[in-house]
C-alpha cells in the first residue's frame, strides 16, 4: 500500500512538472511558429489565427477572446495588420500581456497606389515584415525575452531553444542568398496579387509590381491593370504570382494579355497547410517558386 502511494505521488508530481506554466496566445501564424520553436514543451500555445486565414480580414470569435483572456502572453506581428487589437486589449483588460514582436523592426513605408477606392494608405507601414529572415531573427529574440521575463524558471530552456532556432534561421538565410543568386538581377521583377513582398524585395534586389494594394480588400483599377500589362510586355517579365488565399482572376487575365505564365501561388500573409507549414518551409517554397518562375 505504501509503495502504491509513493508511486501515485511521484506520478502526480511528474504530471504537474510536465504541465506548461506559460500560456501563450498567438495572433499570427508567424508568431505561432516562433513560439513553438522557442517555447517547446514549456508553453501551452493557442494559435488564434490559423494557417490559410487572411490576417487583414480576421476578426476574433468569442471563443478566441476567451482563450486570449486565459493566456499570460499574446504575441502579435503589429504594424496595424491586427485592426481589432485595441478593442481586444480593452475586452481582456490588463490581465494579459500583449507582445508586439514587430515593434523593433524598421518598417517600410507603404507606396501609395491607385487601387480603385476612396481611402488612402499614406503614412502607413507595410506590415509583412516576416518576408525578411533578418526581421524574423529580431522577432525571435523578442519572443525569447518575453518568455524569460514571464517565466524565469525556464530561462535556460528558452535561451537554448531560441539559440537553436536562430542557427536554423542563419542556415535558411544562407540558402536563400544562394537560391536568389541563380536569378540575374535584371530578371528580379515580381508581379504579385497584393503588395506583400517589399521586405523580401529589399533584401534580394527585386522590384515589386503588385496588382492590388497592401490588403486583399484593395481592388485594382482598370488603369493599374493596363499599366501592369504594358510593363510586363516591355520588360519581358516571364511569370506573375498569385497567393494561396485568393482567387487569381485578375492575374489570369494579365497572363492572357501578356503571355507571361502564372508562376505559382505564394504564401504572403503567413503560413499555409500544404508546402508552408513552418516558417523555413514557407521561405523555401516562396523563393523557389519565384526564382524558378522568373528564370
Amino acid at each position: 500500500m505504501k509503495h502504491l502511494l509513493v508511486t501515485l505521488t511521484l506520478a502526480l508530481l511528474s504530471l504537474a512538472g510536465a504541465q506548461a506554466e506559460l500560456k501563450v496566445a498567438s495572433l499570427s501564424t508567424i508568431t505561432t511558429d516562433i513560439a513553438k520553436n522557442v517555447g517547446g514543451e514549456k508553453i501551452e500555445l493557442f494559435p488564434i489565427v490559423k494557417a490559410g486565414v487572411d490576417p487583414h480580414e480576421f476578426q476574433p470569435a468569442p471563443s478566441d477572446v476567451k482563450k486570449i483572456a486565459d493566456a499570460n502572453l499574446v504575441l502579435f506581428t503589429g504594424k496595424h495588420i491586427e485592426g481589432y487589437l485595441t478593442k481586444l486589449e480593452e475586452t481582456v483588460g490588463g490581465k494579459v500581456q500583449f507582445v508586439d514582436t514587430g515593434a523593433s523592426i524598421k518598417a517600410i513605408p507603404m507606396v501609395e497606389e491607385d487601387h480603385g477606392h476612396d481611402h488612402d494608405h499614406k503614412g502607413e507601414e507595410d506590415p509583412h515584415w516576416w518576408h525578411s529572415i533578418k526581421n524574423v531573427k529580431k522577432a525571435t529574440a523578442v519572443v525569447r525575452d518575453a518568455f524569460v521575463k514571464a517565466d524565469p524558471t525556464n530561462k535556460a530552456v528558452y535561451e537554448k531553444n531560441a539559440s537553436d532556432y536562430l542557427a536554423k534561421l542563419d542556415e535558411l538565410q544562407a540558402w536563400a542568398t544562394e537560391k536568389v543568386a541563380e536569378l540575374p538581377r535584371e530578371k528580379r521583377k515580381l508581379v504579385t496579387s497584393h503588395d506583400a513582398f517589399q521586405y523580401l524585395a529589399k533584401d534580394y534586389g527585386f522590384t515589386v509590381h503588385p496588382v492590388q494594394g497592401i490588403s486583399h480588400a484593395d481592388e485594382p483599377s482598370s488603369k493599374k491593370v493596363a499599366e501592369l500589362i504594358v510593363l510586363i510586355k516591355k520588360q519581358g517579365v516571364k511569370a506573375v504570382f498569385a497567393e494561396n488565399i485568393e482567387n487569381p482572376k485578375v492575374l489570369a487575365e494579365i497572363t492572357k494579355e501578356t503571355g507571361a505564365k502564372l508562376g505559382g501561388e505564394l504564401y504572403a500573409d503567413g503560413l499555409g497547410d500544404k508546402e508552408a507549414t513552418t516558417y523555413p518551409d514557407m521561405v523555401r517554397y516562396n523563393l523557389t517558386t519565384i526564382v524558378e518562375g522568373l528564370k
Binding site: Q173, A174, W175, T177, E178, V180, A181, E182, P184, R185, E186, R188, G205
Partner: protein, 144 residues
C-alpha cells in the same frame, strides 16, 4: 484635266501620301535610335578587377556568377586576384561568395574589392565564424 473631278481627287491623295512619307520616316528613325540606345546601355561589357582578401586562410572558397565559377581555391594563401570581363546591365551583376574556415577559427572576415579601371566599385568586408554565404553586387550603369 480641270474638268475631271476624279483626277483632281487622285492627285490630292497622291500629294498627301507623298507628304506623309517624310513624317513617317522621321518618326520611324527616332524610334529605332531609342531602341539602339537602350540595347547599347544593356550590353556594355566592362573589364573588372576582382580581389578577395581573407583575414584567416579559408579551408575553401568560391566566387560565382549565376552558375559559372569565376574563382575558387583554399588556404594557405589569403589573397586572390583576377580579371574578368562582364556585361553589366543597369540592374547590376550579383556575385556569390562562399567560404569556410576551420572550426577552431574565431570570428573572421573576408574583404571583396572590385574595380573597373580607376574606379573602385565594391569594397566590402563580411564578418563570419565558420562559413560565409554572401552576395556582392557590382552596380550597373543607369541608361542616360
Amino acid at each position: 484635266m480641270e474638268g475631271r473631278p476624279w483626277v483632281r481627287v487622285a492627285l490630292l491623295l497622291i500629294g498627301f501620301s507623298l507628304l506623309g512619307i517624310p513624317v513617317w520616316s522621321m518618326t520611324r528613325e527616332k524610334r529605332q535610335s531609342s531602341v539602339i540606345e537602350t540595347v547599347v546601355a544593356e550590353v556594355s561589357v566592362r573589364p573588372l578587377r576582382v580581389t578577395i582578401l581573407f583575414a584567416e586562410p579559408p579551408l575553401s572558397f568560391s566566387l560565382k556568377h549565376l552558375d559559372k565559377v569565376l574563382c575558387q581555391g583554399a588556404g594557405p594563401e589569403r589573397e586572390f586576384s583576377f580579371s574578368w570581363e562582364s556585361v553589366v546591365p543597369p540592374e547590376g551583376v550579383e556575385l556569390l561568395l562562399k567560404a569556410t574556415w576551420p572550426s577552431t577559427a574565431a570570428k573572421t572576415a573576408a574583404r571583396v574589392e572590385i574595380s573597373g579601371g580607376d574606379e573602385v566599385l565594391i569594397d566590402q568586408t563580411f564578418w563570419s565564424e565558420r562559413s560565409l554565404v554572401q552576395s556582392v553586387t557590382v552596380p550597373g550603369t543607369k541608361p542616360k
